[in-house]
Symmetry: C2
Subunit: 333 residues, 2 copies
């Protein structure tokens, strides 16, 4: 039994139940009476409800990430921890790896610790098969689940997303406008974010009357050298491309190294666009044009949303933040 049972039986939203519990005046007397009646009927004490509402809790949030040493996720952890701290919450960090089994194990572990909420940082947590995500939707009956750039539908699941699709769509459009016609797309994963980035690329090509050719779309390990070597191989195989759009700056650094090795001139002969606008972006010469995926804004919004949930506010289940295109020296625009 939980807050959802109360919400259901009282015929009001969870947010309304939360407001009643928090003494928020923004509830009619009639509704308040009804909710309190149902709570009494169900034998609930406010203490039980307080879990997940910021009252009488352990004030600790579980953060799961696949790999805290990845630059994007390292920054995400930094901002999440900082903003939780500002709000008086500790964070327990779990680096889960990417297998479903270890992700579930860590998730269960955090639940057994009675954390007040679980944040899934990065888009590696949602599996394509719905039943593989049921452990998350099940848990969301008891505690809020926050997704940072991942998407899963469900009550008490809150997603803060970067608009990756528009970002790659725009970047591809700018590459085309600057004269590129054979744009290679390198990506690391089929995550929610990864899928959207790829969609943006495809849609932009089609929107500009260009065909989407599968030989121009390649998956690559998130590794500078792996990316360089993949491009060298495609080059040797005779594939011609005049631009490389990537789903991660590490792959774009590999593209710069490929161009150096083959003595192709950047950006005249080859344009390159990175993703995440990370520390990598200024390491290369020329420096990377890169899509800023707004990791700080994503994390701050995630924590603000979570605090809104705890305070019984009427918070959106999905917030999307626009990315920026940071123009440096690897593109003609």
């Amino acid at each position: 039994m939980n807050i959802y049972d109360v919400s259901k039986k009282a015929g009001v939203s969870i947010a309304t139940v939360s407001r009643v519990l928090n003494g928020n005046p923004n509830v009619s007397e009639k509704t308040r009476a009804r909710v309190l009646e149902v709570m009494e009927d169900l034998g609930y004490t406010p203490n039980v409800f307080a879990r997940g509402l910021g009252l009488g809790t352990i004030q600790t949030i579980g953060i799961m990430c696949s790999d805290s040493s990845d630059p994007y996720l390292a920054h995400a952890i930094y901002y999440l921890e900082r903003d939780l701290r500002i709000n008086g919450y500790d964070s327990i960090l779990c680096c889960t790896g990417t297998s479903l089994e270890t992700k579930r194990q860590y998730f269960d572990l955090l639940r057994s610790k009675k954390v007040d909420a679980i944040i899934l940082a990065g888009s590696k947590f949602i599996e394509p098969k719905a039943r593989d995500n049921s452990y998350i939707t099940d848990a969301s009956r008891d505690i809020p689940i926050m997704l940072v750039n991942g998407y899963l539908e469900g009550e008490n699941i809150y997603c803060t997303l970067c608009d990756d699709r528009t970002a790659t769509h725009r970047a591809t459009g700018q590459l085309i406008a600057s004269g590129c016609r054979r744009i290679l797309y390198l990506y690391t994963s089929h995550s929610y974010s990864g899928t959207n980035k790829l969609k943006g690329y495809r849609d932009a090509l089609l929107g500009h009357g260009l065909s989407v050719r599968e030989e121009y779309i390649h998956q690559c390990e998130k590794d500078v050298i792996a990316s360089r070597d993949l491009l060298l191989k495609l080059h040797e195989d005779g594939l011609f491309f005049d631009a490389v759009l990537t789903s991660d700056d590490a792959l774009a650094v590999g593209a710069v190294k490929y161009a150096h090795k083959t003595e192709r001139s950047i950006p005249d002969d080859l344009s390159i666009v990175g993703y995440n606008n990370s520390v990598y972006a200024v390491c290369t010469d020329p420096e990377l044009t890169s899509i800023d995926s707004k990791v700080e804004a994503l994390c701050t919004t995630t924590i603000n949303t979570l605090m809104g949930v705890f305070n019984g506010g009427n918070v959106p289940s999905r917030t999307t933040i626009a990315a920026d295109l940071i123009k440096r020296a690897t593109t003609k625009f």
Copy 2:
């Protein structure tokens, strides 16, 4: 009152008290009787002792780092969390910034959470003035304090260190052997680690009969562009140098970018050595020769030492791990 009072009154080491508490057979019957007698005299129950000994604790370790988004510290957190998890411990992460005030606040916060130990990751936690570190030595009466590449003397304080001094000494020696005479040294901080790296550089110069010139030693923000711009300024000011040794790969990347900008040839005209052998090292062309500071080994040793402390083992208060010099393309050796 704590384990140290027992140790003192019984006239035995803390490790011996721990062994008694853990039923370790490696204690004479006479000593065991004496320790148990003192415990009774002082009104202690094993439960009180169990804190910090892995018995009946919250099985949670506090990890403090100045900035989890720094690549070195991001990896440290990853390895620490992983190895704690393997041993059945959670970790609470605090990103403290570098001011003494915030470091103390986070430290007190972790203590108030009754964590079983505190790990200070990175060498930014120890202040030059002993009284500024007294909050750490005071706490070590109650819980083990683990320093990852930081050094502070005190009972129940355990330091795992990289032999930074030997590492820069050797790298400087190799630069000299390869013909460099005017070796610039760029560093980021005066931490324990930073001081040792600088000593290694100075000692190597003196050991090879070269003079240490202060105009060749410069502090720089840990930032690629700041490093590049500092070198451009020194260059414009007419300082001649044929090598750049750095305390961090980010500074070495800046040196590569400086060389590109001034069209100096690497390594013929300018040798560059980075530190940490991080993701940065393979981003540049040419790729960085870099000192591998063995962050994984440091973290694994730290956790092994901590588990030794919890199990009442006779663990060393200081362990030093040798660095490696990874030779790539920015040096002639």
